[in-house]
């Protein structure tokens, strides 16, 4: 047990904590896909924390943070560890504060439709418990089975129904959090401002430890209307989505798949058993690895008019939900708009099938990695007027390195998020010193793809992340996103909330010190 952690154990004999080797391995990372490559290479836990502590009350969190402040011990708040950007990347001095034992409902106001819930509450049980009372939060991230309320707030999360209910930032009425000095503060939504809640949401554990949130609820819908529409191209599809949202329609689900992704969706969004076995290491995996050595050619083929024709065009999955005849009236209005915009009605099947398998897609990563490949996702956003440039720019940038497909699943009246999914393999190793290993060469492809894609997103006027957050994976690029003024402003906020810089140090912003506690997750200089 390290010295700081021994001191913590002495200071809080009543709080559950552990410096056990297995626990330290379990808390050494989140679900950043680049970690998976390290794990596959045998580097299971390079970033082990000093230990883990499990507080059960806000007061305990505050006392632990005060101790950390006094001893200048860095701490990282931890939910369920399902972040995908290396927002959690501890080192041997860091103490992880796991909030999952802080998971009570403090109060439910069924008439006013609000809930005070502690930050460690897991997503799915929260929604199921609300549903039993005829209520819903309306927040359905793909990670709902392995994420917490605090994690959603930390990452500025989006759920599948963001088109109707908004993102998590649109659901928070009040926050209780612990600043870097150990002070418990209560922040309140204020329509006319000043509203400090948006500053803490998305701050990824660098400004305060969120301990409780007051969330806005909705009556749980009893009726749904389903439809699928095919479009000649992805652009035709997003023009139709734009028209719907600007006409005032708010579908709970509107997901537009590019032709390849649409082909997969039409085949069945999850043929799970088959998918797993086909991707297992063996002849199929070898063929796939060979194919992915030439991603540019495949991408060009599939993205062009030929690909669109062969694959059957793009597919829009649409679900309205509500009460009585509301959803069917909205669907009729949507059908009228979409038909005018070259949409061809494809029946209810695609939408019903999507709903049935709505959380399955996130669990298809393991077979890809087991096959010696890698996969990841990138979610960018822009106003509608910049969407074409963003789509083409990022797709082209990624496509030089990896196989890429896309869907658009978070639309707003003024713009949309594009969600790129990609898979790649090892870069050719000839002449690259020190990169003899397969996984090291996979990392090289991975880094090249991300670096090119992030530059392309900024060049096209898009934002680097719509709902996954920044973590350490995008931190080196934050000056491109926010400008020097924005980075200075976030640093000023950090100094105000956390004067000693003990909360998740190294996360969110590019490093300033010449001797960082951690290396950049994505080095600025990527080997050519």
């Amino acid at each position: 047990m390290s010295e700081p952690f021994e001191s913590l154990a002495r200071a809080f004999p009543e709080v559950r904590l552990s410096a056990d080797a297995a626990d330290r391995v379990a808390y050494a990372r989140d679900l950043w896909p680049r970690h998976h490559l390290a794990v596959r290479a045998g580097n299971v836990a390079q970033h082990r924390p000093a230990g883990i502590v499990w507080p059960t009350s806000t007061e305990e969190v505050a006392r632990i943070v005060r101790w950390a402040h006094d001893t200048e011990t860095p701490v990282v708040p931890f939910g369920a560890g399902s972040g995908v950007c290396a927002g959690v990347l501890p080192h041997e001095r860091i103490v992880v504060i796991d909030l999952k034992r802080l998971s009570r409902w403090r109060s439910l106001d069924t008439e006013g439709r609000t809930l005070d819930v502690e930050a460690g509450h897991m997503g799915m049980p929260l929604e199921e418990n609300l549903n039993r009372r005829g209520l819903t939060l309306g927040h359905f991230p793909s990670s709902i089975l392995c994420s917490t309320v605090g994690g959603w707030i930390a990452a500025r999360s989006a759920g599948q129904c963001s088109g109707k209910y908004g993102k998590i930032e649109d659901m928070v009425l009040a926050l209780e959090c612990v600043t870097g000095t150990g002070e418990v503060v209560h922040l309140h939504h204020r329509t006319s401002g000043p509203n400090l809640i948006p500053l803490v949401i998305g701050s990824e554990g660098t400004l305060a430890v969120v301990t409780c949130a007051t969330l806005r609820l909705h009556p749980n819908p009893t009726v749904r209307a389903f439809a699928g529409f095919s479009f000649p191209s992805t652009e035709h599809g997003w023009d139709a989505m734009r028209a719907m949202f600007q006409a005032g329609l708010r579908p709970a689900i509107s997901r537009l798949y590019d032709p390849f992704d649409a082909m997969l969706a039409r085949r069945g969004s999850v043929e799970k058993d088959r998918a797993d076995s086909a991707a297992a290491p063996g002849l199929g995996a070898t063929a796939l690895r060979s194919l992915l050595r030439r991603p540019g050619t495949i991408n060009e083929l599939l993205e062009g008019a030929f690909g669109s024709k062969v694959l059957g065009g793009s597919l829009l999955v649409l679900i309205f939900e509500g009460f009585d005849d509301g959803p069917s009236r909205d669907m009729e209005q949507a059908k009228a708009i979409l038909s005018r915009m070259r949409g061809t009605y494809a029946g209810e099947g695609p939408a019903r099938q999507w709903l049935q398998h709505r959380y399955s897609a996130s669990y298809r990563q393991a077979p890809v990695f087991a096959a010696g490949l890698f996969s990841d996702t990138m979610e960018v956003a822009a106003p509608w007027s910049k969407l074409r440039g963003l789509y083409d720019g990022v797709r082209r940038a990624l496509g030089e390195h990896v196989f890429v497909m896309a869907h658009l699943s978070h639309a707003y009246p003024d713009g949309c998020c594009i969600y790129f999914s990609f898979a790649g393999t090892a870069a050719k190793g000839d002449g690259i010193a020190g990169l003899e290993g397969w996984d090291a060469r996979c990392e090289l492809t991975y880094d090249r793809a991300w670096k090119a894609a992030m530059a392309a997103a900024v060049d096209a006027g898009g934002t680097l992340a719509h709902h996954h957050g920044v973590g350490r994976s995008k931190a080196p690029r934050m000056a491109d996103e926010l400008g020097t003024g924005g980075v200075s402003t976030v640093r000023a906020l950090m100094r105000a909330f956390d004067p000693k810089g003990i909360l998740n140090p190294g996360n969110l912003l590019p490093r300033t010190s010449s001797k960082p506690t951690l290396n950049d997750a994505h080095p600025r200089t990527v080997r050519a």
Binding site: G112, R113, G166, R190, P198, G248, S385, G485, V487
Partner: protein, 163 residues
């Protein structure tokens, strides 16, 4: 900052506007194109866009009325130390704290808006409106604790420490 006093992005239904433009001038320019800011301007029409945002955008809808829709998509602002903050327009983002909040309803204590990208509406289009959460004051007075935090931010922003 754009040289244009008013720049309309019709596909995105956004307007870029210099902070010194009055709301009445903005609304007149929009009206000529069949568009509107879509807010109740009675008492605020003589205000400039910068002053209106600094004083809390009175007359605009609550975010809880239509969670998919936000009033401000991006802005350029001057911080207390004179440096510039640019938040490029985007429907949503997940890149750290939402810095737009520094300028909304803070009466210039944390940022002064030089240019803003605002949501606009086709005059004839329907506007969704959920019932607001009941039993709560959605505009409570600033607590002493929150006021102290705002002062702390302002002090840090004035310090002009480099990034």
């Amino acid at each position: 900052m754009s040289d244009l006093a008013i720049a309309i992005d019709e596909p995105s239904l956004l307007v870029g506007v210099v902070g010194t433009t009055t709301l009445s001038a903005l609304e007149a320019a929009l009206k000529a194109r069949g568009l509107t800011l879509g807010v109740a301007l009675e008492r605020a029409s003589t205000k400039t866009v910068a002053d209106w945002l600094a004083s809390g955008a009175v007359g605009s809808a609550s975010v809880f009325a239509d969670p998919a829709d936000h009033l401000v998509a991006g802005l350029e602002a001057t911080l207390p130390d004179g440096s510039k903050l640019v938040v490029r327009p985007s429907p949503r983002r997940s890149v750290g704290p939402d810095l737009i909040a520094l300028a909304l309803g803070t009466c210039g204590r944390l940022a002064n808006v030089d240019y803003a990208w605002l949501r606009i509406h086709v005059k004839s289009a329907a506007r969704p409106a959920f019932p607001l959460p009941g039993g709560r004051d959605l505009d409570p007075p600033l607590t002493e604790q929150e006021n102290r935090l705002v002062e702390l931010f302002a002090s840090e922003l004035r310090s002009g420490r480099p990034s």
